[in-house]
């Protein structure tokens, strides 16, 4: 796999391939969730507040 510029650590071919496969699958989930949120919003359901910016990694 070639990326420009090359990373200074070897990301591993197998790791990159499997990452893309998993990420594409999970990306679908993120997309679905986003559009489901859109549908809910359209029907007046308030979205839950996003707390991600407040978490400090010690959850």
């Amino acid at each position: 796999m070639h990326f420009a510029p090359l990373p200074y650590l070897d990301p591993g071919s197998g790791s990159m391939i499997i990452q893309i496969a998993i990420a594409v699958l999970l990306g679908l989930g993120v997309a679905l969730r986003a559009s489901w949120g859109g549908i809910k919003k359209y029907f007046g359901v308030k979205p839950k507040p996003e707390d991600e910016d407040d978490d400090s990694g010690d959850a």
Partner: protein, 466 residues
């Protein structure tokens, strides 16, 4: 940062940071600096200008730094020199309890999520980039960020899985002591090894199935292949999905400290509340009087006495061999938001060695000392009797780690805990007496005070290094 100084090579460059072409650490007059090379100038500018730096520092996820006029150590490549805030004590992932490694993992993912939002990405996800600063898992390598290029996967994915997910899964599903594999494998535990060690039921856990088992299989299958880039690459949405999947998988990994050898040690002691309180009071008094900046509590258990030392303002590292005690100690740090106590797992009879390239990437336990004050409470009998270390050698050991003060408890043979240690073995310790102890330690220390612990046969000494 003494360990850094000891790990320094002739160039002035510290050997723990030699891999990254973006820059490196060096010291001058005992102050730690990081040189940023010109090759990294655009990424550094983005980190600072995008607001990511400020955001991460505010959330205690990244070490704060200031830009300085300090001359660079290698001027031909230099872009800037920064001075990061000094970390009180450097610890390594194989010294962390389960929750410490878990929090370090979650901090890394939280940083990556925030970075992606501002079009940056972590270019490495090494567990060694994390240190506990004011009680919280914090990235100390300011040069870990790079400008995100649309469509590209996360270059540090493999490293993240090896450094964090793999050992955490082993600790949660197999045995907490497997964290020690991190001591053997400096770039994280190989995934094929982890996949083989994990119980079969982990294949029914989507995160572990994909990020460990299938990932390990893919590494093997494509090990000698250079794959072509995917057209269109990977969307940021997909990448976020990946990070969230890792996050969810890690959040669900649980280890409960029950059931290990000494988890409930304080409930199994032979001394009374009065004795316990007396010991606490002595440690508190002596640390308040001597005002050490850095204290090591060796055999600190869940940190009760470490907290007495820390109450004088000292940064106290509380070492114990039992991962359950250290886990409990760390949970207390989190609940009480304590900023100057660092619980760590350490076997005093086989302490952390110097590791990595040329033995200079990770410092040994000893190289990270000596410290102003060492506490050795209810530990001497384990070293002298269970581990057969003669008293003069014990005195030398403590003298080498102790710059000034030693607070040490002598537990005589008549004590029931020592009797327990002697029931199953021959008593080959004729010199293990209070007199023998005092005479052995007198060669390296001046005994300043000795107090009999109330309601017990034990004595606590305050000694000063000669």
């Amino acid at each position: 940062m003494r360990m850094m100084i000891q790990a320094m090579r002739k160039t002035g460059q510290l050997s723990a940071s030699f891999r990254d072409p973006s820059g490196f650490l060096f010291t001058d007059n005992g102050i730690l600096y990081r040189q940023i090379n010109r090759a990294y100038s655009l990424d550094y500018a983005r980190l600072m200008d995008s607001g990511l730096y400020a955001k991460l520092v505010k959330a205690n996820l990244l070490i704060p730094h200031v830009e300085t006029d300090q001359l660079p150590a290698q001027s031909d490549a230099a872009f800037k020199v920064i001075q990061p805030e000094q970390v009180a004590f450097i610890s390594y992932p194989y010294e962390w309890s389960f929750s410490q490694l878990k929090d370090a993992a979650l901090a890394t993912l939280s940083i990556q999520k925030r970075a992606l939002k501002l079009d940056m990405s972590l270019k490495d996800a090494s567990a060694y980039n994390i240190q506990f600063v004011r009680g919280k898992a914090t990235v100390i390598d300011t040069l870990s960020f790079e400008i995100y290029k649309a469509g590209e996967p996360w270059v540090a994915y493999k490293q993240f899985c090896q450094h964090f997910l793999a050992p955490l899964a082993l600790m949660a599903y197999r045995d907490v002591r497997l964290s020690q594999l991190l001591r053997v494998y400096i770039d994280g535990v190989p995934l094929d090894l982890v996949s083989g060690l994990l119980p079969a039921k982990t294949k029914f856990n989507f995160g572990l199935l994909t990020h460990i088992h299938i990932h390990a299989g893919a590494q093997k299958r494509y090990s000698d292949r250079v794959a072509a880039p995917r057209k269109g690459g990977l969307s940021k949405q997909a990448l976020t999905g990946l990070i969230e999947s890792l996050e969810n998988t890690i959040k669900k990994l649980i280890w409960k400290p029950a059931g290990t050898e000494w988890g409930d040690y304080y409930e199994n002691t032979n001394y009374t509340d009065a004795a316990f309180e007396h010991k606490k009071q002595l440690v508190k008094e002596w640390s308040a009087e001597k005002k050490p900046a850095l204290v090591w509590d060796l055999g600190g258990n869940t940190g009760v006495f470490s907290r007495e030392a820390a109450s004088s303002g000292a940064y106290t590292v509380s070492f114990d061999i039992d991962p359950a005690a250290v886990e409990q100690n760390y949970r207390t740090v989190k609940t009480k938001k304590e900023q100057n106590i660092l619980p760590l797992v350490l076997d005093l009879t086989n302490p952390s060695p110097a590791l990595g390239w040329d033995h200079s990437e990770r410092d040994s336990f000893g190289a990270r000392g000596p410290v102003d004050m060492v506490l050795a409470l209810a530990v001497i009998h384990h070293l002298a009797i269970s581990n057969n270390v003669p008293l003069p050698q014990l005195a030398e050991f403590f003298a080498s780690h102790c710059r000034r003060w030693l607070v040490i408890e002598f537990v005589p043979k008549s004590d029931s805990q020592v009797q327990k240690l002697l029931t199953s073995r021959e008593d080959i310790f004729p010199n293990y007496t209070r007199e023998g102890f005092e005479s052995a330690f007198s060669s390296s220390f001046i005994i300043q005070r000795s107090e009999s612990v109330r309601d017990s046969e034990r004595t606590i000494f305050l000694m000063e290094a000669r």
